[in-house]
Amino acid sequence: MIAIENLQKSFGKQKVLKGINLEFKRPGITAILGPNGSGKTTLIKSILGMALPDKGCIRFQGEDISGSWAYRRQIDYLPQIARFPENLAVKELLRMIQDLRGGQPDAERLIGLFALQPYLDSRLAALSGGTRQKVNIVLAMMYDSPVLILDEPTSGLDPVAMLHLKELLRQEKEKGKHILITTHIMSFVEEMADEVVFLLEGRIHFQGGLQELKEKYDATSLERAIARILREGELGFSSNGHGEKAAKLVLKAL
């Protein structure tokens, strides 16, 4: 479905992606993990054509995506920060995206699921952070595209909404979709993901199943396995100092 070859990207002097080779062939949920600044969002944005690669190539269904836009019809994307035109009402925003994309989305079911009916006529500026995130999820998931990319979908959600999101993702997975998720919540990954891609310092450190990851690093839980990867990374990257810093930061966060 999506194949990435030797993807490289720098912002100024900072090399964010240092040659990523990745392929998403099998449908299912893939969690993209890594400490802050490891290049997760840049990788996702490159797939969407929002960040333009310095080197390398991304193919979507076998076609190079550079310069094209129509392939995005097949991708639903949930951005990390949910901010919309302040003066529009929720209903108008939904209608607008529908108008821009065409097709027949199924927003009603999702609006009901996340109990958004009372907010349909409110201006987006008046909504709380969590409610915005729910609107964001409805916008991203109301279409039935074969690829679903979610950047930190869990941020700001209350436990009930979180349950609904998980249920929704399971349903989408059963439909045979490719779902890419970035998150920092390990329990979410353990519960949902079929495959894990671990990014560190702009390189892929591990790609494979959850069980495989745990076995490879001889750990009882995902958190421990990741702590191991980071410690390894610390040793491997200690020559340049950055890896060490990043690894320490994440170990603290874990």
Binding site: K9, F11, K45, L48, G49, M50, A51, L52, W69, A70, Y71, R72, R73, I75, Y77, P79, I81, A82, R83, F84, P85, E86, N87, L88, E92, M96, I97, D99, L100, R101, L139
Partner: protein
Amino acid sequence: MFKILKYSFFDLTRSRWLYIYGAFYFLLTISLLWLGGGLSKAIISLMNIILVLVPLIATMFGVMYYYNSREFAELLLAQPIRRNHIFFGQYLGVACSLAISLLLGVGVPFVLYGIFSSTEIWNFSVLLLVGLFLSFIFSAIAFFIALRNENRIKGFGLAILVWLFFAVIYDGLFLLALSLFSDYPLESFAIGASLFNPIDLSRILILLKLDISALMGYTGAVIQNFMGTLLGMACSLGVLLLWVVLPALGIRWVAARKDF
């Protein structure tokens, strides 16, 4: 692109500031017409205000709108839409809503005053046309600058600096050059130099139409000679159009190469 334009426009028509902007022109024009005495006087007073205020407000609105809709643009970029269309749509949305505020704010009082039965109608039309051009020119420049600068404060500062340059500093340098080289024939230099500043060009266009270029002395007479003709008029309008097209091409160029 027209869909994006439509939604940007609707989004902006709900912003209070646009109404304040239109209402300001409305009240100003009414007081100039009914208290200031006469159409031609009101046109000249309005000219001085429009030439400074329209570029300033267009610059600020353009920069603010771009930065405020930054995250939303990201959402749009992930949709199956061409990049160019997103930013052109947003730019045209800002420019059109500013233009309509100006058109209604200034136009309605003049119509009520009876501009259609007056001989001043052409002078008034040139004033409005120039105001519309300036709205499109400066919001395009503002969008271009904002697209190039991720840092909001830097973008804002730079955009205001560009406005200040064209509205104030350029004239100062122009005058300085004229007085320093007053021993030389400077007429063609004067014409050339005014083409490079859309605000100056607009001012000359209106003054020529008002037939008060005699106030500008010999140079004025030469400019009148050049621009008073149909060719000169077409030339200046063409250059104004170029002032819209160039920053718009800039927007396209930056948008195609930018990472979001």
